[in-house]
Subunit: 221 residues, 2 copies
DNA sequence: CGCTCCCTTGAAAATCCTCAACGAACGTGG
DNA sequence: CCACGTTCGTTGAGGATTTTCAAGGGAGCG
């Protein structure tokens, strides 16, 4: 499942990781195929990851298979840091994904010695917490239309307002992120399309164009 | 709203705060009346709090008044730390509450100088994140009965499995924590009572006894 | 004794989910 | 390059869960 494609460190987007490790990190590049598990809930954390290209979902499962996706991670994002001895969720590549990885112990070492990356680490965990807090508001109190709209706005911002937004995840992933079923997600998108707030680009449903960002923002509440 | 009751630091339960501030903290004790706001969303964070006695809810609001409670904080708990320049949610005393407070800047100072409390701070934020992640699973994917059961189990554990659990919060608070309405919470509690998994103690509905913790744990999924 | 807040319960309504069918896109292998 | 199976997305109908609306009773407090 795990294919090493290049052992030489690439320096273009590893600023955050480098800072965390106090510039003395061991850094490799790996590729995961579409659908491949990067680490599983309960496993011992060995690496911290930064996405070079692709997309990753992290999720928790209930015993009967119900799934809640905590977050989507896109190019440039870090994920997988654990303070504890086990991973609290599972991470999978949504599409073919290339990541930088570094040993978790290097980071812990850096923190123990008061490394320069300590503040960045706190900031990283705090940002995750901040995202989780607003997602709790969405999951606990927003309607299906508001949730889907909020998702579109979040993706639009993270992809820096592209003309055409290309979603790496399917409807089921979106549903499990928003606490809905895939049918409800599909219906909400159809409503937004029928009302002229977005357009599907071409004959594929993963490429969409936000026509009226102002109206979308108003729906998001 | 804010009444200073004692300016002398109390040392019994401030271990965590003390560690964070590298033992050189300025620490006061304050009392908040039932319902009093401790800080508001968007305000500039000045203090970090630790509860001596009482209970606190932290929540976010949507423009139309829908409320999502992120967490309940009980005696011994810390809350209110912010890495950013504004509070991300509002904190209110659920009942009359006594807190220790210390200046946020002392903690940031300690971290900047590689203080001994840095690791504790990361741990603190990580624990909050961990709670938020499992709460997202609850809000996104659990039924009303599972949510109420999970709430009871969480409170039972945090109160260290008392014979009679005394809840400081009302049904609306529980509902806003679980992403439900107060009626649904009430109905779920009635079901659990009718099935003999819990008992209401006396003629008040805030005191309840978990009769069959095993059965409750099974419902929680 | 009043009032207010809190909780429960019932009935009706709304939202969302489940089940089902269908068509399109994609990927694989010939 | 095409055929075929698989995955993916949409839409409809019916059903289940939760919410909304409403009423009533009990506890606490001035």
């Amino acid at each position: 499942m795990l294919v090493r494609i290049n052992t030489a460190p690439r320096m273009q987007i590893d600023g955050q990781l480098a800072a965390l490790a106090g510039e003395r990190m061991s850094c490799c590049e790996f590729r995961y195929r579409r659908g491949a598990e990067i680490f599983g809930e309960g496993e011992e954390p060995e690496y911290v990851y930064q996405i070079i290209s692709g997309a990753v979902r992290t999720y928790k499962l209930l015993p009967d298979g119900r799934r809640q996706i905590n977050a989507f991670h896109l190019a440039g994002d870090m994920f997988g840091f654990e303070n504890e001895t086990t991973h609290r969720f599972t991470a999978e590549a949504i599409v073919e994904t290339n990541v930088h990885l570094m040993r978790r112990t290097s980071i812990l070492e850096a923190v123990r010695h008061g490394g320069a990356g300590t503040k960045d680490l706190i900031k990283f965990v705090t940002q995750n917490l901040q995202h989780a807090e607003s997602h709790m508001l969405l999951l606990g109190r927003k309607t299906s239309l508001e949730r889907v709209t909020a998702f579109l706005i979040e993706m639009d911002e993270r992809l820096q307002h592209p003309d055409v937004m290309i979603l790496p995840m399917n409807r089921r992933d979106i549903a499990d992120y928003l606490g809905l079923t895939l049918e409800t997600v599909s219906r909400a998108l159809s409503i937004l399309r029928d009302e002229g707030l977005l357009r599907f680009d071409g004959n594929t449903q993963r490429r969409l164009e936000l026509v009226d960002r102002g109206a979308l923002a108003k729906i998001d509440a």
